[in-house]
Subunit: 348 residues, 2 copies
């Protein structure tokens, strides 16, 4: 379908999503023309074929997907659109891939504000530009009022894995150092404290950011040193470390005193009885690296904005395989378990 190249009427504050916007008819075209294309248009998307046709560079292809259902849709430090782009970019990058192309699938609730939708789409465009990726194919569905909560966004992504790089959560070796790129819990507590009925008067903001730049620099500067990377999102650093330990059948020991937590985040966590290690992050990186290379990786990370607070939080041990143990501030040892379930629903 060709989008007629006229200057579209701007979206009015009071306009809302109608069922017909998702029906594949004339109003679907209007939605594309007025809300999506002004911000997202590019050589692939402009064709509006059912599929984007891409010439991928050589190399193994990484493929990842995530649906974002965060509530509230706008939160301190970001919104669902920015999160949807950065989240999938990060899922590709932690596999050693250079993220290239994203898809975007929207589910919109009838009555959702078109002005808010446009703000979200604009954020996606900006986040994609910052991360150096293109949104090349998409889909929009509209469901009736009360059949979804405002807006859900799926992004799937394609990236090309660096030659010779082999990152996997199965690669941890005993004595590896575990590096964390910065403070924990910012995203989850930003969401939590911005929910209705929970007002902390805090200035906690989400750490939502694309990690592919930092990861690329690490892989440039210290090639082949990294064994595994993960972004500790749902379930927090605790879940990530448990996954690494379990997948590689090794133990991990971390030191509580080394874990960076912002004072506001720590305060909110204490008030709510939540362990910051279980809280989601959206711009942090956990790196497992051979001990001998750890200082060099740390140096590279600390030179970057996103890795300024990077720190070695522990190491891989041959004790208690599959288990994560923390040396507490009191010198005792505590098992850091996978959380059973939900402390903070819909944080991403």
């Amino acid at each position: 379908m060709t989008i007629v190249p006229i200057c579209p009427a701007p979206v009015m504050q009071h306009e809302t999503v109608q069922m017909a916007h998702g029906a594949g008819g004339r109003l679907s075209q209007t939605l594309m023309q007025r809300v999506f294309m002004p911000h997202l248009h590019n050589a692939f998307l402009d064709l509006l074929d059912d599929q984007a046709k891409l010439d991928l560079p050589p190399g193994r292809t990484a493929f990842s997907t995530d649906t974002y259902v965060v509530s509230p849709v706008f939160f301190p430090g970001g919104n669902i659109g920015e999160l949807a782009v950065n989240g999938t970019v990060n899922d590709l990058a932690v596999g050693g891939a250079k993220p290239l192309y994203l898809s975007a699938g929207f589910v919109l609730e009838e009555g959702f504000s078109l002005a808010e939708l446009e703000d979200i789409v604009k954020s996606m465009a900006e986040a994609a530009r910052r991360a150096g990726v293109m949104i090349v194919t998409g889909d929009t569905k509209v469901v009736g009022k009360g059949q979804c909560d405002r807006i859900f966004i799926n992004t799937s992504g394609i990236g090309i894995i660096r030659e010779g790089v082999n990152l996997s959560c199965r690669n941890l070796k005993v004595s590896d150092s575990i590096i964390l790129s910065g403070t924990v819990g910012d995203h989850g507590m930003a969401i939590m404290t911005s929910r209705e009925g929970l007002s902390f008067q805090s200035r906690i903001t989400s750490d939502c950011a694309a990690l592919n730049g930092m990861i690329s620099t690490i892989l440039d500067e210290v090639p082949f040193a990294i064994h595994a990377m993960r972004d500790p999102t749902r379930g927090g650093v605790a879940a990530t470390l448990n996954e690494l330990a379990s997948s590689s059948s090794v133990g991990i020991e971390i030191h509580e005193t080394t874990i960076p937590v912002k004072p506001d985040v720590r305060g909110a966590c204490e008030l709510l009885g939540i362990d910051p290690l279980h809280v989601a992050n959206e711009g942090k990186l956990v790196v497992a690296v051979a001990a001998g290379d750890a200082e060099r990786v740390l140096e590279v990370m600390r030179a970057l904005d996103l890795g300024r607070d990077a720190v070695i939080i522990g190491s891989v041990v041959d004790d208690h395989p599959g288990m994560v143990v923390m040396r507490t501030v009191y010198g005792s040892r505590r098992i850091i378990d996978l959380p059973l379930g939900e402390q903070l629903p819909r944080i991403c």
Copy 2:
């Protein structure tokens, strides 16, 4: 994360989705182990990394996405899972690609039946097997009761485009024949008549099917003859023809007498005042082909189960560019417009 290779407890009828199933903790693991992995497991998915690492064969890559929100979730002739696999397979195939890999992103409503979820996942596995694709990466989110309508599924897909094949809705040439692979309106009317409060006692079933086999055979047998293909889903054949006409800046003329419609579907459409050309299909193909090759293509299609009722419904004309005109049974001419909006919400 490693899925422990034990025989998981079967899902009980009364068990339902809990918020904790989407939290990335222990219950998320249980959901993977008990519901998803028994049906979907393969060498890529088993790794449970944040991304699948694929060795794609040479060629241009097609990339497509669609979120499925069909209601009811189970309908005559299929369910949302089967639809989600076939729909994205078809979006890749109509671009001339061999579909290879899919992602699957689930949004589940708290309280949704785990037994029904398992039925859906099983259907996805079967549909993927039939279409010759693998589901290699996935994601599950759970939202609270009333925050989505039971289950939404996004599938994104990757395929490799055949060497030398260049299908695009911009490629139509004057005098091309337009072929339709079978009866129209089956899927949309199956959904419509199965909705609560609308009982037709009909036996209308969805035509939900993967088209990649048929498309591959056409491209094998009549290489380079096809200018464009589309699967007429949302908005029906009317929307598809309008997109083709508009994108290629040509006119299309079709003949009402040639359009195959099943008697039950025609009856239901007449009762509801709906034009079958505007009703969604999920296993039909519209092909634009040079007139000289049309009979050969038709022959190839008719030899296949899915193309048994294939027929030439019209041709590309140099009159009325961007517009679709139908010669009616009475010999008069009628403009087949893009529907404004929604006749049948949530049909896919």
